[in-house]
């Protein structure tokens, strides 16, 4: 039984998986409906509202083939990904210790939570003008806005996660002789790990949203360079709608790959949650 499973190629096993097949079918159905919707006018002479105005998937695919040969397109991927990961990483590096410090120390929380809560509702995009003035280069200001997108989510998740750790774990550890440092290292840290990964996954999504909007606004200026957001914007300005869709799908893929990566790392670092 076990041997048989090992011999079956991974791809075959993947296609035998119900959930995977359902996902593939759903995507195919979506693409087919989209094709029909946008081709309706040329086929039957009647335009379907909304979808009729969007380039059909076949045109998008053709356009993608073409775009895929431009170094500029891949440069956009590279630039956006770099901005997202830098902003995101800095947000993790600052956000996790900041959230933990607020969770374990009430003086620290008392001092920093109110200003944090006042700043939090300000959308990252509202920071764009200030950020452009504040940072010397466009690149840095885009990264700063990206950082903000992930930062608040990560901090709130870490703080909430650490605060909701069952007091019985802490008490049990304490009576077995744990020092404050032990409690932090052996209970609070592993206990907060699931929330850290939730915060990271959500934060990663926001980061992509924000970086693209940032790129659209600040443009492909001489300093900053393109990015996928600018790619969409310039395609739109040039009136090339199928390219706009290529850009949109590219972002969808990029976001999906990034969050899968985070889920995978979470999966590896939390073996006790792996059974589900």
């Amino acid at each position: 039984m076990v041997d048989k499973k090992a011999k079956t190629p991974a791809l075959v096993r993947l296609f035998r998986d119900q959930t995977f097949r359902r996902g593939v079918i759903a995507i195919l159905a979506f693409v087919v409906l989209w094709e029909i919707g946008s081709q309706f006018k040329s086929w039957f002479g009647v335009m379907v509202p909304f979808i009729g105005k969007i380039a059909p998937p076949t045109a998008v695919a053709v356009s993608w083939m073409e775009v895929g040969q431009w170094p500029g397109y891949w440069q956009s991927w590279y630039l956006s990904t770099g901005r997202v990961f830098l902003g995101f990483t800095v947000a993790m590096i600052i956000g996790i210790p900041f959230g933990l410090a607020m969770a374990v120390n009430k003086y620290f929380r008392g001092m920093f939570f109110p200003p944090f809560e006042i700043l939090r509702p300000i959308p990252p995009l509202a920071w764009v003008p200030a950020s452009i003035i504040f940072w010397p280069t466009t690149e840095l200001s885009i990264m700063f806005v990206t950082f903000l997108g992930a930062f608040y989510t990560i901090v709130i998740n870490v703080l909430g996660g650490a605060r909701s750790i069952d007091i019985q774990y802490l008490r049990a550890a304490q009576s077995m002789g744990a020092t404050q440092w032990d409690l932090f290292r052996k209970i609070i840290l592993p206990g907060t790990l699931p929330s850290i990964f939730i915060g990271a996954a959500v934060g990663m999504g926001i980061t992509w949203e924000v970086v693209l909007a940032g790129e659209m606004i600040s443009g492909g200026g001489q300093q900053g360079g393109g990015g996928l957001g600018f790619f969409i914007w310039s395609s739109y300005m040039g009136g090339v709608m199928d390219q706009v869709v290529v850009g949109m799908i590219s972002i969808g893929l990029a976001g999906y790959i990034s969050s899968s990566l985070i889920r995978y790392i979470g999966h590896l670092s939390m073996p006790w949650r792996r059974m589900f």
Binding site: Q174, S175, G177, I187, W272
Partner: protein, 279 residues
């Protein structure tokens, strides 16, 4: 009875209140009892009477406002491995395997050589029948297994007193019975001082050497009963006339106390205690 030397734990006139000056709720008032060495002392009380507060006081998680708690002659000043609690719902760390959970305490303190620790842990995991589940995580264990793993985690620290805070609550009836039998055998094989807090009267009678019935809140000792059923015991003995007599007597008192809390608007005080525990 008067000889203090065989008292492992002594609770002397302990009072504990929660809340601030505006809305103070006294949960424990003038509570005094002693726990004899190598015996099992069961504590029962009507629901919401403050049993959990008593546990927290015994374990050193809370400090009494007045009075004193002595463990082996020394005042309890905070949580320590000498008075370990097996908690109501499981408090096994979900991110550690059974083995890692069991070795958590000794490893933390570094008071056992690695080889000795490994041997002791494996032996204790064997005793609670979890050898095959040594490297499983708590969520992979059934409710009964989790409780046994938690017992093992407490036992390896060789506490002077084991405090069981409704340890079998939430288990289904069958598992609960099995756990009671398992625990009876464990207690009878090795002499250990146990405080067993429960809201199940039958469980208390069959396990206990002495039974303390707490009064309604603010709680204190309402009745002390010496349970002289012969040992070794089994669950069938619950239907014996002696056991029945203990049960009838205890039931009467508990019923009286429960009625009082019914009239006294316990809902309100329950809320207050739950609220004050949040902080």
């Amino acid at each position: 009875m008067t000889d203090a030397s065989d008292n492992m734990m002594e609770v002397r006139n302990v009072t504990k209140a929660f809340g601030d000056d505006w809305e103070k709720e006294t949960v424990v008032e003038n509570l005094s009892f002693s726990v004899k060495k190598d015996q099992l002392t069961a504590i029962v009380g009507p629901s919401g009477c403050g049993k959990s507060t008593v546990v927290n006081l015994l374990a050193g998680f809370e400090r009494p406002d007045e009075g004193q708690i002595l463990l082996n002659g020394k005042p309890v000043s905070g949580p320590s491995k000498d008075a370990l609690v097996v908690f109501q719902e499981t408090a096994l760390m979900p991110w550690l395997t059974t083995y890692q959970n069991v070795t958590f305490g000794p490893k933390l303190r570094g008071d056992m050589a690695p080889d000795a620790l490994k041997a002791a842990a494996d032996k204790i995991i064997d005793t609670v029948g979890l050898r095959e589940f040594r490297d499983k995580y708590p969520l992979q264990l059934s409710g009964g297994m989790q409780r046994r793993a938690e017992l093992a985690r407490a036992l390896i620290n060789q506490p002077q007193v084991m405090i069981m805070d409704e340890p079998f609550r939430g288990l289904d009836a069958m598992t609960r019975q099995l756990m009671q039998e398992f625990y009876l055998r464990l207690c009878e094989q090795e002499s250990r001082t146990n405080v067993f807090v429960t809201s199940e009267l039958e469980e208390a009678i069959i396990l206990a050497d002495s039974l303390i019935i707490l009064s309604n809140r603010p709680t204190s000792v309402r009745e002390f009963i010496q349970v002289d059923l012969q040992r070794p015991r089994n669950l069938e003995m619950l239907s014996s006339p002696e056991a029945y007599e203990y049960k009838r007597h205890a039931m009467e008192i508990l019923h009286e106390e429960a009625l009082k809390s019914f009239k006294g608007g316990a809902g309100n005080s329950d809320f207050l205690e739950a609220y004050s525990r949040q902080g």
